[in-house]
């Protein structure tokens, strides 16, 4: 009888102990083994910018990374009157000494101008200033063809003369607009900062341009959803994503599309990716292009070039250069190239 009593007592204690341990275990790791990410968000670069970290200790680095982004915006935006880009634009063709960052970005911009034989051109500023795709406007006038004609000759990336940190626009009428490449450049600087600060896992999202930093604690790859340019299907269901892309380590997953910034006028859709040859929104069969690159500045440039090229030329270009990418056509067809780790949504989403 005594033996039975002791056994019951022992069982009760063991049960209580196990319950306590289980409960304490849950306390330390709420969310069933998944850590709640810490997101820091700011309205910068005329979009929404977010840095996500996964450890409380990294929170200050997320805030600092966004401060870095704000600093670069002041340096690189043509909309900021005393930015280095505004100084170059206002110099009337005189040489301007710029910081290392601006010089490096301009060097990249010229590279993509050369690579695409002028399809991608950051000297399109005079033309792009005729257009207004901003959400602050309700008028969105379509520029006069004559004004575009007059502005077009100044759009030529070969007008950028770069010698070390000294920049000169050979055509004083040319204006720089780095909208197609600056976000990527800034995201790279933010990723560098986070890595140097010892952050082991983070996500940078500058208006839909994603940079993954480090790796997840679980060791699983980062999974990035590719937004469906036309989320409403014919039968009324909404498909938010076309599929997902998996990447590992610090990588950029960047998208250029004709569906994010546009306005409608007389039944026509005017989107923000301008063709430097015509000064009008480029006619393309691609709604969006998502590319996977090590550096986001390259992703930005390549994705925009692909939209400008259209699906056939873009596919050849990506294959030739072995760049993983997902092309979403206007008709909804999706093309995965360059060995991208892409999984179609398959009815999910």
């Amino acid at each position: 009888m005594k033996k039975v009593t002791r056994k019951i007592k022992k069982t009760a204690v063991v049960c209580a102990l196990l319950a306590a341990l289980a409960a304490l275990g849950s306390c330390g790791d709420p969310g069933g083994g998944r850590r709640e990410p810490i997101r820091k968000t700011e309205f910068l670069l005329d979009t929404i910018c977010t840095v996500t970290v996964f450890s409380r200790g990294d929170e200050k680095h997320a805030t600092e990374a966004l401060a870095l982004c704000a600093g670069y915006e002041k340096l690189l935006s043509s909309a900021v009157p005393d930015s280095e880009i505004s100084k170059i634009n206002g110099a009337g063709g005189a040489p301007v000494t710029v910081s290392d960052g601006t010089a490096a970005l301009l060097e990249r911009a010229v590279y993509y101008g050369t690579l695409s034989d002028g399809a991608f051109d950051v000297t399109i500023g005079r033309v792009s200033s005729l257009w207004d795709f901003s959400s602050d406007s309700d008028t969105h006038p379509v520029p006069e063809a004559a004004d575009i004609e007059a502005a077009l000759p100044s759009a030529d990336y070969r007008n950028i003369e770069l010698a070390g940190n000294v920049v000169r626009l050979k055509d004083p009428a040319a204006r720089l607009d780095l909208g197609g490449i600056a976000k990527g450049f800034i995201a790279d600087r933010m990723a560098e900062y986070l890595t140097e600060s010892g952050v082991r896992a983070a996500l940078i999202d500058l208006g839909g341009n994603i940079v993954t930093v480090g790796g997840k604690e679980s060791g699983a790859p980062w999974t990035i959803g590719v937004r469906n340019p036309a989320p409403q299907t014919a039968d009324g269901r909404s498909e938010v994503i076309v599929g997902t892309i998996e990447v590992e380590g610090t990588m950029s997953v960047g998208t250029s599309g004709t569906y994010e910034r546009f306005f409608m006028r007389d039944g026509l859709r005017y989107h923000h990716i301008l063709d430097p040859k015509t000064g009008f929104p480029v006619r393309t069969d691609l709604a969006g292009v998502t590319v996977v690159t090590e550096k986001s500045v390259d992703g930005d440039g390549i994705a925009t070039i692909c939209v400008l090229y259209g699906s056939e030329r873009a596919r050849d270009f990506l294959r030739r250069n072995n760049i993983p990418a997902v092309l979403v056509k206007e008709d909804g067809a999706v093309i995965a190239v360059g060995g991208v780790k892409y999984t179609p949504a398959g009815g999910k989403g």
Binding site: A20, S26, S134, R227
Partner: protein, 134 residues
């Protein structure tokens, strides 16, 4: 009278204290875990206006949220077919990009009204992916 085990033997005081203490710890832990679990595993709609938290709303039921800033935005949480979604039903901002934005229903998605500096995002909840590119 002393508490007795079913065997009829009296329970020692030390045993009783130990079992009681462990049970209390378990209950507190379980309550915390349940609370924390519900917070992280269920999706909520978080509204941030001009950089400050405006409110967090469960995505479980139909709801309308009106945010007044420089402009006014009307956010609707509703059922669309089988699943809940969030959309910007109306806004007085000039461009109305936010109203044209497709409804969102997955954790991590957001709708932004830049002129009103308004961010509507789905937070928490389980997701098959870490971020969206667009």
């Amino acid at each position: 009278m002393k508490e007795r085990f079913p065997t009829g033997k009296p329970m020692r005081k030390a045993d009783a204290i130990l079992i009681a203490a462990l049970l209390i710890v378990s209950i507190i832990g379980a309550v915390f875990a349940l609370y924390a679990g519900s917070y992280t595993n269920e999706a909520n709609v978080r509204v941030t206006a001009n950089g400050a938290l405006y409110g967090v709303y469960p995505i479980g039921g139909t709801r309308e949220i009106v945010v007044k800033g420089i402009y006014e935005n009307r956010i609707v949480i509703e059922r669309d077919g089988g699943k809940m979604q969030v959309r910007m039903a109306d806004a007085t901002c000039p461009g109305k990009d936010c109203v044209r934005h497709a409804p969102v229903n997955l954790s991590g998605q957001c709708i932004v009204c830049l002129p009103n500096r308004l961010l509507v995002e789905i937070v928490g909840g389980e997701n098959d992916f870490d971020a969206f590119t667009y």
